[in-house]
Amino acid sequence: MSDKQDLVAKTRLLDESGWRNRLIELFTKWEVLLGIIFILMVIYFSNLTPYFLDSFNLMNASFQFSERAIMALPMIFIIMCGDIDISIASIIALCAYAVGTASAAGVGTPGLLVIGLAVGAAAGLVNGLLITGFNMPAIAVTLATQSIYRGIAQAALEERALTSYPQGFGFFGQEFIPGTYIPFMLVLYLALAVIMGFVLHKTAYGRRLYAIGSSPEAARFTGIKVKQIRVMNYTLMGLFAGIAGILLTSRILSARSNIALNWDLEVITLVVLGGVSINGGKGTIYGVVVASFLVGYLKFGMGLLRFSGTIMTIVIGTLLIIAVLLPRLLDTYKNNRKLKKQQLEAALNSAKA
């Protein structure tokens, strides 16, 4: 008898509409967990310092991370397909060099934008063609182009910095939307995030990315042009690195060959922290956007509290490892629940019989 009661009690587990199951389903989502961590962080910092929850400060802090956050968007596409790109920081250096040189030669602001974007997209296209054309591993190819792109800037600039830019070029990286104190960069980032999110979650292109990431072979057999899509991803990545390069040059009004050093790894950290699987096929844009704000404001808050950069490095490295470890544990938990459900169903069926 008690056995039967127990069984009835446990059938709650099967009730899909039950609030308890819904909550568990919700809170085992990585994006939601990230959001909670973000809120806890905001509460923590605003308790410790009155300068954190200040809207002007918050807006101003976004200058520090918008460029990297922008590059994280196409990096989602690349990692989604099981690829990687560690040359993007070097593409920034190359773009900064091209823009700086053109500016010194007297090119106006619109021309500089075109040059920056074109150089970035071209560099990305070269990556994509090399990887898919020769069927070479992405990490090895972008390791080589990482040296080549930065090497060009280094060979040309040596230790000089290019510092002459036309009036108005500083707008993109330094100014606010007129009449407000919202940085132009932040608005650009959010707009690009909406566009890329739409592409990823609402278009056939996005669905194909998931398909390729889950199984490139199967995707190819269903008629998806895997190579073209991968080349497209790298070109997009280059284009966005070009955008970031323009923003960075515009922000600091100086182009050196060692600009944006190690940003590629920071961008990959953002994407993985955002819940995109490094093996491909899993992840959402929401997670990465939350992760970009989380890391950006974590750095800002710790800076306000005068933590040294060292501690931040350790915290972010640890966060990255936890970010991969935790979803795995959650998956195990979910699978266990599923198993229990199936056992229950079987038990119920036999009880009915």
């Binding site: 182009t145 090497g151 040596e158 990255l320």
Partner: protein
């Protein structure tokens, strides 16, 4: 008469086959590439191949060779280790600080400290990969930051300079034995031991098996977790060793030391024909790859290219090596397929 011609033909054929087989080896193509670079340079400046310069190149590449071998084992198992520079920095800093605080501690104990610390850091990497099932690239991306941060914590943001260390320790890499510096001897020992290990020991062959096809290897009874842990312990140990040597050789320990060195290590492996898909590559190739980078860096000033060109030239050489490796591999596979179809 006819017999003789056919005999000669087959003999010629055999010789051709032999040459072909030798040329197909990665090491052979690297040696040829090395000669292609060396000939014009030596014509331009004959002292490039003088005893002192060769010694300098060998000294320069010794640490890189040790580190590249560590990286090789990880790549062989189909992983990658990005924490190289950070492990070198931490162990190098620890070695320098030990020497500064206790000058009476003998040099070999300092080296042992580096090796031990490196092994511990490698074990952490390996545990996360083998038991935490975190992909190697993510694990080492994370620990790269953590270890670099710990270096700052350890040093308190300061550095150790040459005059704070003993001449015993700083002079150690330059001590010579049989006309060869201690640094080169260390590299030679590492090369010898790892060559034997990778070629003739059971565990060494198991690394190849796991890298080549992990599922198949598991079916024949290879303990995958043990191997995945082992490669990171090996790499960490070698990086730690390199860290101790690094501080002595460059006579200073700073927090930013060896930043970006992971790229050099990986580049040496790529040049040496190590396959990123895992399971293919060998120690001689990796050593040649490191040697190649050493020669390249030393050769630039000789051909009147400023050191600012170093990054660019290195990148192009790595890319070229990659393309050659891939094309050769493709041809081999196609030939194998054709042969099988023919039968």
């Amino acid at each position: 008469m006819r017999d003789a011609t056919t005999h000669r033909a087959t003999e010629e054929h055999a010789v051709k086959q032999f040459i072909k087989r030798m040329l197909a080896r990665r090491e052979a193509s690297l040696v040829i590439l090395l000669l292609v670079i060396l000939v014009p340079i030596t014509i331009r400046s004959p002292q490039f191949l003088s005893g002192t310069n060769i010694n300098r190149i060998a000294n320069d590449m010794s640490i890189l060779a040790i580190v590249a071998i560590g990286e090789f084992f990880v790549i062989l198992s189909n992983g990658i280790d990005l924490s190289v520079g950070s492990i070198i920095a931490f162990t190098g800093m620890a070695s320098g600080m030990l020497n500064e605080a206790y000058p009476q501690v003998p040099v070999f104990l300092i080296l042992l400290l580096g090796i031990g610390l490196g092994a511990i850091m490698g074990t952490v990497n390996g545990m996360l990969v083998a038991y935490g099932k975190i992909p190697p690239i993510i694990t080492t991306l994370g620990t790269m930051s953590v270890y670099r941060g710990l270096t700052f914590v350890l040093s308190g943001g300061t550095w150790v300079t040459a005059h704070e260390m003993t001449t015993n320790y700083i002079g150690f890499p330059r001590q010579t034995f049989l006309g060869i510096s201690a640094l080169i001897w260390m590299a030679l020992i590492v090369i010898g031991v790892t060559y034997y290990f990778s070629r003739f020991s059971r565990s060494g062959r198991e690394i190849y098996a796991i890298g080549g096809n992990a599922t198949a290897a598991k079916f024949v009874g290879v303990n995958e977790k043990r191997i995945r842990l082992m490669v990171f312990v090996i790499s960490g140990t070698l990086f730690g060793f390199a860290g101790s040597l690094w501080t002595a050789r460059y006579a200073s320990a700073v927090n930013e030391m060896a930043t970006g060195f992971e790229m050099q290590a990986v580049a040496a492996c790529v040049l040496g024909g190590v396959n990123f898909a895992g399971g293919a590559g060998a120690i001689p190739g990796v050593v040649l790859g490191a040697l190649f980078l050493g020669v390249l860096n030393n050769a630039l000033p000789v051909v009147y290219l400023s050191t600012f060109y170093q990054t660019l030239v290195q990148g192009m050489v790595v890319l070229l090596a990659l393309v050659i490796n891939t094309v050769v591999d493709d041809r081999k596979t196609r030939k194998l397929l054709e042969q099988r179809r023919g039968r």
